[in-house]
């Protein structure tokens, strides 16, 4: 592992994005606009808006970073740049951490904007610290990045890569507690939702919504999201091979 190569990779990924301002604008603005839309949809039910708004802040980073990373790394695989990089003195960890750093940075910007607008303009009442929201959003984005990197190994085309989004993310979305609280779900579904990482990101966001301090549940939620991200990153690393058939 080398800090120079990791930083160079992160910088390269960000430079690629800089040539694509439309993607950056979409990444940053879509979550904000959707939250504003939600605000008007639930104009009559502030409590519901608070709960769903907080949950969404935990969901956006994962979805967007999943999409961006799966396409970006699929391109690396199909364009031959991955083969080239792995024939050079680049460690797999350098590549993966470079991606995680670049997209993590982007996720922080995205989450900061969405959180800021939600708190200051839409008056969502968070009892806890906005920094905790950012932390959860960041870990969540890393989880999305890790999943995207992992599935790109199983997609031959960009069509296939985007189809992994409904396959991997939608079930998590349905079961994460956004639609109905997890403890009121049918027991089998609740058990499934208990092993899906997005559930803990959403729980974490709601924990910050309701409590001013750092609760034990929050620590557990954060640890689970971070642990899942790390685990999937390692799985992603295993799909990078210097020698291919």
């Amino acid at each position: 592992m080398s800090a120079t190569r990791t930083l160079a990779t992160a910088r390269r990924v960000l430079r690629q994005l800089a040539h694509d301002p439309r993607t950056i604008a979409l990444l940053l603005l879509v979550p904000v606009l959707l939250t504003v839309l939600l605000y008007y949809v639930y104009a009559d039910d502030r409590e519901l808006f608070d709960r769903i708004g907080a949950s969404l802040l935990g969901i956006f980073p994962m979805i967007t970073m999943f999409l961006v990373t799966s396409i970006a790394t699929l391109r690396e695989r199909t364009s031959g740049t991955l083969e080239r990089l792995l024939s050079m003195p680049l460690g797999k960890a350098d590549l993966i951490l470079g991606y995680a750093l670049a997209f993590g940075l982007l996720a922080v910007a995205q989450a900061a904007l969405a959180t800021g607008v939600t708190i200051w303009f839409l008056d969502l009442d968070f009892a806890g610290s906005p920094w905790l929201l950012l932390l959860i959003a960041l870990l969540d984005a890393l989880l999305g990045t890790a999943l995207g990197l992992f599935v790109s190994a199983f997609a031959a085309t960009e069509f296939q890569a985007v189809q992994f989004m409904p396959a991997l993310i939608l079930p998590q979305l349905l079961l994460c507690g956004l639609l109905t609280p997890r403890d009121t779900m049918q027991p089998v579904l609740e058990a499934v939702s208990n092993v899906l990482p997005l559930s803990y990101a959403v729980d974490g966001m709601n924990e910050v919504l309701r409590n001013s301090g750092v609760t034990g549940d929050l620590v557990r939620d954060i640890a689970i999201v971070a642990g899942s991200a790390l685990l999937v990153l390692l799985l992603g690393a295993a799909t990078l091979r210097r020698r291919t058939p």
């Binding site: 080398s2 990779t9 040539h19 364009s79 792995l86 024939s87 050079m88 003195p89 020698r243 058939p245």
Partner: protein
């Protein structure tokens, strides 16, 4: 260290590669001498890319002996000493030419102070200085493949493995590139292995490896090949060797006997 610097750049013995369940490189034995331009010629699908990937250390399921610069192919110390240019340009089309080079220079671990100079030299080598700040995606196919080549020149690798670098280029550019290859060999002592499926490129090379269907047909200088097969062009020589190999196949099927058959025929 002494003999690793003196030995051939590439040494293969009984080199075999299996791809998709088929043996696509079959018992090759050859050497690539240092500081030469060696051509790897053969029709499309004969296994040139597979062989180059094996030398670059990116090919799985390689058996037999394959030593590169005194190390087994793909060994970690080779990763900055061997430059490999794939058949399709492998660069980032959403970066400029210079940004591509700067990134790969950092990946190669070139000291920060040397990076700028190396990047400028590589740009000049492939004659793309005037397109340094163009988005790679906006370049023509020929320019893009030269960006890919420039990446491989960074850090002055001792061995350059170039997969069909001149195919599809206009004749002037092609001549210029072959000029560059010979300059690299003569002035920087670089060893170049250059593949092509176009037989007229044979005379640009000091030595030739002629391949067909995963086997080595012949190994030598273009002149020696023509003399040996009593032909005037490498294309004719190739055909003669194919016929010879085919006749020889009747006697029983053993891998790696092609060269022997050649010598018997041309005696």
């Amino acid at each position: 260290m002494m003999n690793s610097a003196a030995g051939p750049a590439v040494h293969a013995d009984g080199l075999t590669v299996v791809r998709g369940g088929r043996t696509v490189v079959d018992g090759l034995s050859f050497e690539v001498p240092r500081s030469t331009v060696t051509g790897l010629l053969g029709p499309s699908g004969c296994g040139k890319t597979t062989l180059m990937r094996a030398i670059a250390g990116t090919q799985a399921k390689v058996t037999g002996t394959l030593d590169v610069l005194g190390h087994p192919a793909g060994a970690a110390p080779l990763r900055s000493r061997v430059g490999y240019v794939t058949q399709a340009a492998s660069v980032y089309t959403d970066l400029t030419t210079r940004q591509n080079l700067e990134y790969f220079a950092s990946v190669l671990g070139l000291p920060r102070a040397e990076r700028r100079g190396q990047v400028e030299r590589a740009l000049a080598d492939v004659d793309l200085t005037s397109h340094a700040d163009a988005l790679a995606g906006n370049l023509s196919g020929g320019q893009l493949s030269r960006v890919s080549l420039a990446v491989a020149l960074l850090g002055s690798p001792e061995l350059l493995v170039l997969d069909e670098p001149t195919v599809g280029l206009d004749p002037v550019l092609r001549r210029d590139l072959w000029g560059l290859f010979h300059r690299l060999a003569a002035e920087r002592g670089t060893t170049l292995l250059v593949s092509s499926h176009v037989m007229d490129e044979a005379d640009r090379c000091e030595r030739l490896l002629l391949m067909r269907a995963g086997r080595l047909l012949a190994d030598g200088t273009p002149d020696a090949l023509r003399a040996r097969t009593r032909t005037r062009s490498i294309e004719e020589a190739f055909l003669r060797l194919v016929d010879t190999a085919r006749d020889g196949d009747g006697e029983g099927d053993k891998g790696g006997k092609n060269e022997k058959t050649d010598t018997e025929e041309t005696r």
